[in-house]
Symmetry: C3
Subunit: 473 residues, 3 copies
């Protein structure tokens, strides 16, 4: 079998109808070269702070991308360890090449998935690859990318510039010293923008086995007595401020549900004491967590950090894989979630408060038209925050717009979130969103539901003013 060419079509993802496609192409031409704003992701700040060359194609492109790993495992039967999982495992050249070959050999399993689009775009646009991945072309592609990675223009900062990134957020532990961010920001050579994100999930789960230990660390770091609920709140306030001082614009939260009802002060104190003594039940732990989440919203009204929420995922579904490889290796599975009643305590108290922004993400698409868009359409501070994890593929983004727009319009949505660890896929991921948003808008124009000048302005707003406004960037 001769190798097939790889030449991503300029019109890819656009609607097939030629009239709609022409409109879409025109819209896309207005946004395709605009800078990327990435307010939520997982790229390590050290890559940019240290600007050390990437070691090999597999470590850069394959290992950190759990989208790809999960399907190579599920459809291709590949062992995660063969792919260099967990991140940080040193791979020699033979191992890296073998992993890359597994990707190429199993290429057909990615048909119709976003992984296909992302890799095609990365391979072609970033590394100049011109052949379709396959068993035959695996080594050739590997070699070509490896050769690129030796050049200075493929070092992290050079790529950041080339990718035209205007702002990039990392995700960080509340006790992180944010040294990488400090280093980067104090570097006179650096004129990009990388901001940390306050992610206190573990600190808000009082029934976790490591909660007391984590909380004590929080207390020490902030020089605060955290043996009482009031002290804990104060420590949280200080760390949020620390993050804000280091450039953070948002806090990020993911728990089993979206509930946030307050306890009475007495009840909160009582449960906190039980947690502090390591004897809180799972049920009471959840009750206290909901109260603590409510207080995060209260703190957000004070300090202005945007609050993002993406609940309802079974983390590490495959116990054996978790024990062997740790978290974030592709075994997270969403489940159904409720928002209308769950979010009421926060929205009722703060939903219209000055400067309070709540951005809600979900993988439960049923909530878009039934709950999230109705809520965002009404409350001033609430935004529907997708596309996001899994909802970042073509058809899902189209469903998102079709479900949300009628009830919340365009201006109560957050703009695209790439949420990725795969640095080189950032442009491709944002490109998908831009192409699909333009397709959606192009359809509205073709169906005489929107004038062309309105569509152009909207397309531009969605990648410029809107994410800046929602995330206060």
């Amino acid at each position: 079998m001769t190798s097939q060419p790889l030449s991503p079509h300029p019109d890819r993802l656009f609607p097939a109808d030629t009239r709609v496609r022409d409109i879409t192409r025109e819209l896309y031409s207005q946004v395709k070269d605009l800078p990327i704003i990435s307010p939520h992701g997982h790229v390590p700040v050290e890559w940019l702070a240290d600007d050390i060359p990437f070691t090999d194609p597999t470590t850069l492109l394959l290992t950190p991308d759990h989208y790809t790993n999960r399907m190579l495992h599920g459809a291709g039967g590949v062992e995660l360890s063969e792919l260099g999982v967990p991140v940080g495992t040193p791979l020699n050249e033979k191992q890296a090449r073998h992993a890359f070959r597994l990707l190429c050999e199993n290429w057909k399993y990615f048909r119709g998935t976003p992984v296909q689009f992302w890799f095609e775009s990365e391979f072609h646009d970033v590394f100049g690859v011109k052949v379709r991945p396959s068993a035959e072309t695996a080594d050739e592609i590997y070699d070509q990318i490896a050769a690129c990675l030796e050049k200075p223009e493929y070092r992290p900062r050079a790529l950041y510039k080339r990718f035209n990134i205007a702002a990039l957020a990392t995700t960080d532990d509340p006790c992180s010293d944010l040294a990488g961010h400090a280093k980067l920001n104090s570097d006179p050579e650096w004129d990009g923008r990388v901001v940390p994100t306050f992610r206190p999930d573990a600190y808000l789960e009082p029934a976790r086995r490591d909660w007391v230990e984590l909380t004590k660390k929080l207390g020490e770091l902030t020089d605060t007595d955290v043996s009482t609920y009031a002290g804990n709140l104060e420590a949280m306030r200080k760390r949020r401020q620390y993050f804000k001082d280091h450039g953070a614009v948002s806090s990020d939260h993911s728990h089993a549900d979206a509930r946030c009802e307050r306890l009475s002060d007495e009840e909160a104190d009582r449960l906190y004491k039980e947690a502090w003594n390591g004897i809180i039940s799972l049920e009471d732990g959840a009750a206290l967590r909901r109260h603590m989440l409510n207080d995060q919203a209260r703190l957000a009204v004070e300090d202005g950090l945007v609050m993002t929420l993406h609940p309802a995922v079974v983390r590490n579904h495959d116990t054996a894989a978790f024990e062997r490889y740790g978290a974030d290796v592709g075994g997270d599975v969403p489940h159904a979630v409720e928002f209308s009643r769950s979010l009421r305590p926060i929205l009722d108290s703060y939903g219209n408060a000055d400067g309070f922004h709540l951005v809600v993400f979900t993988m439960d698409e049923t909530t878009y038209s039934r709950e999230l868009a109705p809520l965002a359409g009404y409350y001033r501070g609430m935004y529907v925050g997708a596309p996001w994890w899994f909802i970042d593929e073509t058809d899902a983004i189209m469903r998102f717009r079709r479900s949300v727009t009628g009830y919340a319009g365009f201006y109560k949505t957050s703009g695209f979130i790439d949420d990725t660890r795969a640095f080189c896929s950032i442009p491709a991921r944002h490109d998908v969103a831009r192409r699909v948003d333009c397709s959606f808008l192009g359809n509205l124009v073709a169906e005489h539901r929107l004038a062309m000048d309105e569509a152009v302005e909207t397309a531009v707003d969605l990648v410029t003013t809107q994410p800046k406004k929602v995330f206060k960037l």
Copy 2:
């Protein structure tokens, strides 16, 4: 910035593909001028009974439309009071003009929403406005509409005729004397049809604080001893008959869930006594309510009133707004609902009974293909009753047809429900439904799934025979 023209395209909402559009246009030409049947809505009968001129554009078009208010609040940050909320607040000319300006200034927030379509159609078709709403054009549009409202052809009855309304239903308290309906029907000048609807929600919630008071009023009005469950049932029977005698064709029901299981007579008596003594628990109140709803179905088999059901909404989600402005100001938010098991008691008992019609509405779109269409496809008396609130926008109607048709066809759906307080938007709302239904049918024809003669007949049936049959009009 010069003002943009407002000229709604004759083909708006039609599919972009030219071949499908041609078919759709042909289908639409068969239905666009057919009379409007509106079997569920909230226009005050007094407007037509008294035929008093509308005072100003804001009071007529903006204040009563919670679709618009909620988004001006949520996206535009407008205070509801600035829009004349609650309905009935007197506005002076300056206030009315200011509110109208807020609508026009925030016009971009409505892009892609049905509000945009409705206003464009109303402004253009009803009032002859030729410029797009904006800060610049706000006063000009206001003046033009205000001038219209002074003319006799813009009085309520004249508009009713001009809108080509064949039947219009209001929504009424069971204790209402229906004086407006009586006045209208006895007016020899009046040849339209406005019918009341029996809406006993509050009377079926025994745990409500005002339930005893309401029930006593019901007893007095019907001269019935309502201190027992049997008496309550008898009073309900009488008021339903009173409504029927005044032209009502249906009762309307909205509760937290769709459950309707019966209690034993003894248990019903016991709980009723507790309710009568004001000591029923929330849980028992719900149990009794479900029993009472079941009895509404039983009464419907007797008296033939169509039963409509639209459960599962968090009413008045924003407590502060509710306390300040009251109900129905845009803060209702749907939540998930279950039908397959919940409706079984009613369907099992009456679902195939002669003359029993149950029309079920929902905002939980997930139930269409999973529950409602399978139920309606099987039970003789059951109909899927959307489009309706929120599901009355273009993409949602298309999803509705795509989800329901395969399992229930066209002839187990109710026809379009506008459910509106915004009188002048009635033609535009029905027009959306007609355009989308024709688009859906046009697609079926273009995909060779339906012959053109079948599509034409179906399109016409959906706005004529079908709503007449389902609602016994």
Copy 3:
């Protein structure tokens, strides 16, 4: 009214856009004549084992098809008994003709449903009917089909060949002797493939009134002491092997939910004893059933039978109809279901085990993108097993592909399942799936998301290698 012609268009169900349609037509041309693989259905094996001519059009086409019956009942108001329900009721010629007339008279109620497509295809392609069903044409069509059924080429085996069926699965009680299968397989004239399916639902519901009786029968048949849980498991192991020896490739399971958590051995023994003594509660019965389902998965790892699961249906929703006509007459109604947490015990233990295949079907479309595709994308042994009951119609199949492909690709789906009792509709049902899959693929090609050679290979795989691999055929 003159009768309308019946001439199904060669391009039916294809996208309307001419460019996409051309691509789709090309794809379809590659798959339309490939043999049918039907790994799950309900055609009686005796039809093929005995090869007795079908008696009349109604008994063959109408009575066994609950899709049709339910809508004739629900929309047409027809009594099920008029249609020959339950299956096996002898019909004289007058009754059969009357039933057939009811179908034709009520033809408009099937517009836009798959029933319309199936009958149009069957009537035209199998029986050469050239007029549209209607009151006027009912007798003519009946006569034409009846005349066909007298010919040898319309006997079951001849139709099996003509339908180009490569493999057909039946559904069987664990205690069935599979005599029909044995007879067929030992017939030297027969060169087709019909395999039984192990369906132990009733035997896994310890709280059913007939469970003890069924279980005793199972014990006798396997010569096993089934008074203990271990004995029950052993009896199950033997019957699964018996089925496997008779050609079975899968077991099939449908319960109220998808839960499968294990009990401790002691708890399982205790509950089993209660069940054996006929005193187990509903709740404990469900707990034991979940444990038993888990053990079916364990047995599947041993014996290699594919496990298919399709939970969450309210069976026999209409009690009166059930009492009069029995099960499977159209009164089954799906309800919502949860998979992410429910399936974890099985997936965590066996999801990546060699040879374990779990194919999950559902009517709750919300689970496709949220739960099933994420699970199937990750676990080696899991496949998303629709289209299937209700999801076998055009728009639903398209939604299925659009929801699943982004997260699981094409190669973690099972291929089409017809699940039908209506033998003559099998080609039409598979044809729908092929047409829609090609339409979906055609769209991907037209939108430059897939190369044509990839689309062709995928279309062919979906009806050949994929079902063979998933079902080990």
